[in-house]
Symmetry: C2
Subunit: 143 residues, 2 copies
DNA sequence: CTGCATCCGGTATGATACTG
DNA sequence: CAGTATCATACCGGATGCAG
């Protein structure tokens, strides 16, 4: 080996701010993010946090015009994870109601915190982005 | 109109658990989720929460074998949003250090909560998924 | 070592049409 | 009204090669 340069100053482990309590895998953050990471899950949870909603109501309440397909997929996943409860009524015009489970409600608090943080720091983030964009001109033909 | 069935029992607005403080748009949750929603951002923040890291160190520390491309894109975005600070040293073997900014550290707290929730409810979620899968057989060529 | 460009595939998202 | 199926598209993420 040509290993010279005295390598790097071995980085001290520092003190872990976030510890992984599950040595089996990585931090469990991924589990939640995978569910909340998609485009609509959060909005469904937020809307459902206010009470029981029907399919169409959910679709209308969610900003951004979610398609039936996406709404279906989203609520299905949430239902599978036990965050949402789906109730079907055998009526002539089919009626399905969605509501948060206990698990779902417990997540509500987290999302609320996330929303608060987002709202509080949005200006700072926006400013940072603007500044960054300004100092990083994209070579789109002009210099 | 042919609307019979006494329609639906008009759903009362209920009391909003999560309110949108920004009428201009939707809830600000999207802002954070868009940044945390990708596959690696969270891990970078988690790792950086423990201290300053170099590019290669970051790559090695993150579980799941992140590619250079993704690491670069991820830290760039975080840097653009002002969550991460990037310092370049004009050394012969290029050296770049990454560290969390104040904004980044404040997010650490949220992620910790998210991780805690995830870890605490992982068993419940896993059980729910198993139960759901069992009652929802997929027609993979079967009858 | 660090970072960028290009090609490529998988998945998520979405528009539309059709069924119960 | 609720949900599924199909097709098309956009973006994410990975592999590789090259450059400072």
């Amino acid at each position: 080996m040509s290993a010279g340069h005295t390598a790097v100053t071995t980085p001290a482990p520092d003190e872990p701010v976030i510890v992984c309590e599950t040595p089996q895998d990585e931090c469990g953050v991924r589990d939640v993010l995978d569910r909340l990471g998609d485009k609509w899950s959060v909005y469904v949870v937020v809307e459902l946090a206010s009470g029981i909603r029907r399919f169409k109501e959910l679709q209308r309440a969610i900003p951004g015009n979610i398609s039936q397909r996406m709404l279906t997929l989203t609520v299905r996943r949430l239902e599978r994870d036990g965050l949402v409860k789906r109730t079907v009524y055998a009526a002539v015009p089919p009626q399905v109601e969605y509501e948060l489970t206990e698990l779902g409600h417990s997540l509500t608090h987290l999302i609320k915190s996330l929303a608060d943080w987002s709202i509080a720091h949005r200006p700072a983030i926006a400013a940072s982005r603007t500044a960054w964009d300004a100092s990083h001109p994209k070579p789109t033909g002009g210099e």
